[in-house]
């Protein structure tokens, strides 16, 4: 592979910007997916009381504030050496399950669904949620909105707000819930389970019964044979809230299992001179560039990666769906990028069943929801599975609890290398000897959408999006094509 030398001052920046570099023959040599790197966060946090971190960090991202809030709160537990009471842990996990439901429903129906329901080659004017509603009917559309909204109501009940909850405190949560609230949550959870089952059936009918889609899912064009990362419980089942971080190699063999606090022994971050964004990789394997295989430290931390590292799901319907996924695809691990959508729906089923389990646990109304910290704070790591991958928060403080250092590895950053590799694969099929074929935009979009990449601060904007911009360069960094979708 030829090396592309880019002047360090021309750092690649931008929202949703994809840069594709061609070799001498005009074929794809490398592709990079770029999300905005927010600078100065560590400096911003230094000198602040560390208890502010769950609220500050949840402001990093308008898409998954709940993930940051809970990871941050867990980091505070560790930093203050305090164990939350059982009711508090369950309430946090309950909130977190509701968050997964809202997030995965949004992704499937609003973002990924149009590619499948309308078809990858459908006109853009139809390939969106409005087109989906037109096809599946208003009743289904209403149900989508209702179940997403109900999940947010559960978050508000525990976290105080539908968006940016603020219940997490070191040693527990800020308030208990009442029996009336528990009953309402239970009722919502029952409906969420039914809706998750319905969604799985819809996926069956529309995607799995369509040979072309199944071929697309299983195509080598959309597969990255990397290591996989995810959190598992003591039974090796997928867990979003707590457990050990497990990594399997591209063949599915266990490579590592470690508590979040040890993450620096296993994960390192590669820096390229031309981008502020880092590329996390497995330290013991090493960075070999944007390549897969056992000798490359690149890993993915996605819904599919979580299923690949686990031995199953902890709830019955999700477990049956987990088994069906691997039986249908005929292997484990599965590396097909587009199978991530299927894995996400297995997780939707699990999150709904877990919400129901927790809502029926009478302990969640126990008023003892916090153990007050009594020890001197020093250092703590908290991790959760965000919907789009493993999320690490790591803080250091002085003895008064004032922040001295912060390190975050966010989910989309974990997947940065894998996303770039998937985009390269998708682009490969459409760029030959410098000629760019129509359809590259759709396929590249499908490749990265499977990862559900997070666009951080962009999410509050009124248009609610950033334009997708694909730039294709020759080996001398000369811009050959700029394909832009507003």
């Amino acid at each position: 592979m030829k090396t592309v030398t880019i002047n360090p001052v021309t750092r690649l920046e931008g929202h949703g910007k994809i840069s594709i570099f061609l070799n001498d023959e005009g074929n794809v040599e490398n592709a990079y997916f770029q999300v905005p790197e927010l600078r100065g966060f560590e400096k911003f946090c230094e000198g602040r009381p560390v208890e502010e971190m769950p609220d500050i960090t949840s402001r990093i991202c308008g898409v998954c504030p709940e993930a940051h809030h809970i990871a941050s709160t867990k980091a505070l537990d560790a930093l203050f050496h305090v164990e939350p009471p059982p009711a508090a842990k369950k309430l946090r996990e309950l909130l977190y399950s509701a968050f997964f439901i809202a997030d995965h429903i949004t992704h499937f129906y609003i973002l990924a669904g149009p590619d499948f329901v309308m078809g990858p080659s459908a006109p853009k004017a139809e390939r969106n949620i409005l087109g989906v509603i037109g096809k599946v009917g208003l009743e289904v559309g209403s149900s989508v909105i209702k179940h997403r909204s109900d999940a947010l109501d559960v978050i508000a009940t525990i976290g105080g707000k539908r968006i940016h909850p603020s219940c997490g405190v070191p040693g527990g949560v800020s308030k208990p819930i009442t029996e009336d609230e528990r009953i309402k949550i239970e009722s919502i959870a029952k409906s969420e389970v039914e809706f998750a089952k319905f969604t799985m059936k819809l996926f069956d009918d529309i995607v799995l019964k369509n040979k072309d889609y199944v071929n697309l899912i299983t195509s080598d064009k959309f597969a990255t044979d990397t290591y996989c990362m995810g959190t598992v419980d003591e039974e090796d089942h997928v867990n979003f809230y707590d457990g050990k971080i497990k990594v399997v190699d591209p063949q599915g063999r266990e490579f590592a299992k470690f508590p979040a606090a040890d993450y620096q022994q296993y994960v390192s971050e590669h820096v390229e001179p031309w981008t502020y964004l880092k590329f996390p990789y497995l330290k013991k394997i090493g960075w070999r560039g944007l390549v897969g295989g056992k000798d490359s430290g690149v890993y993915k931390a996605t819904p599919l990666a979580r299923l690949n590292v686990a031995e199953g799901m902890a709830t019955p319907i999700a477990q049956a769906e987990y088994k069906r996924l691997y039986e249908t695809l005929g292997q484990k691990p599965v590396h097909s990028t587009l199978a991530t959508h299927w894995a996400r729906l297995v997780e939707l089923v699990y999150a709904s069943e877990r919400l129901l389990q927790l809502s029926q646990d009478k302990e969640i109304t126990n008023p003892n929801v916090r153990n007050i910290p009594t020890q001197t704070p020093d250092e703590g790591v908290g991790a959760v599975e965000a919907p789009r991958g493993t999320l690490f928060h790591h803080y250091k403080t002085d003895a008064k609890g004032m922040v001295k250092g912060v390190n975050l590895i966010v989910a989309t950053t974990n997947n940065h290398a894998a996303i770039s590799m998937s985009i390269k694969q998708a682009a490969d099929g459409f760029i030959k000897k410098g000629d760019v074929s129509d359809g590259i935009m759709n396929m590249v979009e499908m490749a990265f959408r499977a990862y559900d990449p997070c666009y951080a601060c962009a999410t509050h904007t009124l248009p609610g999006q950033m334009p997708l911009d694909i730039k294709i360069y020759d080996k001398k960094m000369g811009l050959l094509h700029n394909i832009r979708r507003p």
Binding site: G16, P36, E37, L38, R39, G40, F41, K43, F44, I56, R59, G62, V63, P65, T106, I110, L111, K124, A125, N128, I129, L130, I133, L138, G141, S142, I145, R148, S149, D150, L152, D153, V154, A156, T157, R162, I163, H164, E181, K184, I188, E445, F448, R449, D452, P453, Y455, C457, T459, H460, T461, L462, P463, G464, Q465, M466, P467, L468, R485, P486
Partner: protein, 168 residues
């Protein structure tokens, strides 16, 4: 209702939230006027304004050349973004259209959108830059006057809140 959009810890991006805070301080004790500070877009934003009759939305807009410039838009101005690509979320125009299709009758009859031009920095800061801060006060004055005019024309009931969507 008055909605301020933005990220409160990202410098000028918080201008919408600042305008809401200025007006909250200025217009106190009105049961018929509600204030919201939000960091959300698309479906999430539309869900927050459902059930209100008249809504002002204040946000920043990326335009490095003219920081501090105030603009006004209607939802119609975003109509051509309806089918635009979005890798992670849907947009405001699409979300609004989606809810219109459901015909729930809870979409505000008036949505006015005011923006302030900012030069996006992608770095963390809690203060506004001088031109954007000046614009925040100017816009607060402008929106405050608009709210007064509405009250004078149609009376207090026009801004009453009928939102009952919360579980709690």
């Amino acid at each position: 209702m008055l909605v301020g959009l933005g990220n409160p810890i990202m410098g000028d991006d918080a201008v919408g939230i600042c305008v809401v805070r200025i007006l909250k301080e200025k217009i106190k004790g009105r049961a018929d006027l509600e204030f919201k500070e939000l960091s959300v877009g698309g479906v999430g934003l539309v869900e927050e304004i459902l059930g209100y009759e008249q809504v002002f939305i204040i946000d920043s807009i990326a335009s490095a050349e003219t920081p501090g410039k105030i603009r006004e838009f209607s939802p119609q101005d975003f109509k051509d973004t309806e089918y635009a690509s979005s890798p992670h979320s849907t947009n405001f125009a699409t979300a609004l259209e989606l809810y219109k299709k459901f015909n729930t009758g809870t979409i505000p009859r008036m949505i006015r959108i005011f923006t302030v031009d900012i030069n996006p920095e992608f770095s963390f800061r809690e203060a506004l830059s001088p031109p954007v801060q000046r614009a925040a006060f100017e816009l607060a004055e402008l929106v405050g006057n608009e709210i007064e005019q509405i009250r004078n024309q149609v009376g207090p009931s026009a801004t009453s809140n009928t939102n009952t969507s919360s579980l709690a």
